[in-house]
Amino acid sequence: MKRRIFLKGSLAAGTLAVAAGAGMLTPKSVLAAAWPKAAFESETEADALNAFFGTSDAEESDQVSIKAPLQAENGAVVPVKVMTSLTGVEGIAICAIKNPRPYTTSLRVSDGGGGLYSTRIKMGQTSPVHCYVKAGGKLYMASQEIKVTVGGCGG
């Protein structure tokens, strides 16, 4: 089943952040693409998605799959792998909803890159983890809750 998820939230730093932080990559533009600061510093998921993808309007899709533990042994090192069978992938992002800054990491992709991104993230507490894939101009997502017994944000 697919359903649209409309996330409410103000546009963070406006169009400048969108232009600088988002958009498709061409080989030359990847080299110039600045670290998406606005997304990383957003305190809401919607602001972060708008900053990186230019939209927070995402559709749940079974073509985005997540490989991550149901329970993290250690919140400081939680492995998350995002895979997608969608074509025309432009970007992937991973958000841990209950982290103080939900946007943890992203991948910008150009022609030769593909629909697989894996990393290890820090999670402060049990939380849904949302994985987004922008492909063919549309934003798709999948979600999985990860239980955390020992938090890992370094407090």
């Binding site: 990559l25 080989p27 990847v30 080299l31 693409a33 670290w35 998406p36 997304a39 990383f40 400081a76 090192v77 939680v78 492995p79 792998k81 895979m83 069978s85 841990a96 982290n99 800054r101 946007y103 943890t104 990491t105 992203s106 991948l107 910008r108 992709v109 150009s110 022609d111 030769g112 890159g113 593909g114 629909g115 697989l116 991104y117 894996s118 990393t119 290890r120 993230i121 820090k122 890992g152 944000c153 370094g154 407090g155």
Partner: protein
């Protein structure tokens, strides 16, 4: 340099997957030095670029929410044996490192 290691393996979905292990503290800026009581400043990898034969195919954006000694995996579906894959990263202090490997 020994602080960035990479492996290239065949991907189940076709093409290859690059796995990179970068030695880096990924400090959040929230931890306190136990001796001085001062906060240890943020120190984390910002961008990590993946290139095949010199052409950048992906750029991973990391932040303080990524674990210490980042282990990053990226799909490179169009790579072929003989291609050279390069990974290079830069952190918030301007420090950087890179590694290169051929696809077998």
């Amino acid at each position: 340099m020994a602080s960035t290691k990479m492996k290239i393996k065949k991907s189940k979905s076709g093409g290859y997957e690059v796995m990179v292990l970068a030695k880096h503290p990924m400090e959040t800026g929230l931890r306190k030095d136990k001796k001085t009581g001062n906060k240890i400043p943020e120190h984390f990898i910002e961008n990590m670029e993946f290139a095949v034969n010199g052409e950048v195919v992906a750029q991973a954006n990391l932040g303080t929410g990524v674990s210490k000694n980042p282990l990053i995996g990226v799909g490179i579906p169009n790579a072929k044996p003989g291609d050279t894959v390069t990974v290079s990263w830069v952190d918030n202090k301007g420090e950087s490192d890179s590694a290169e490997k051929a696809v077998k």
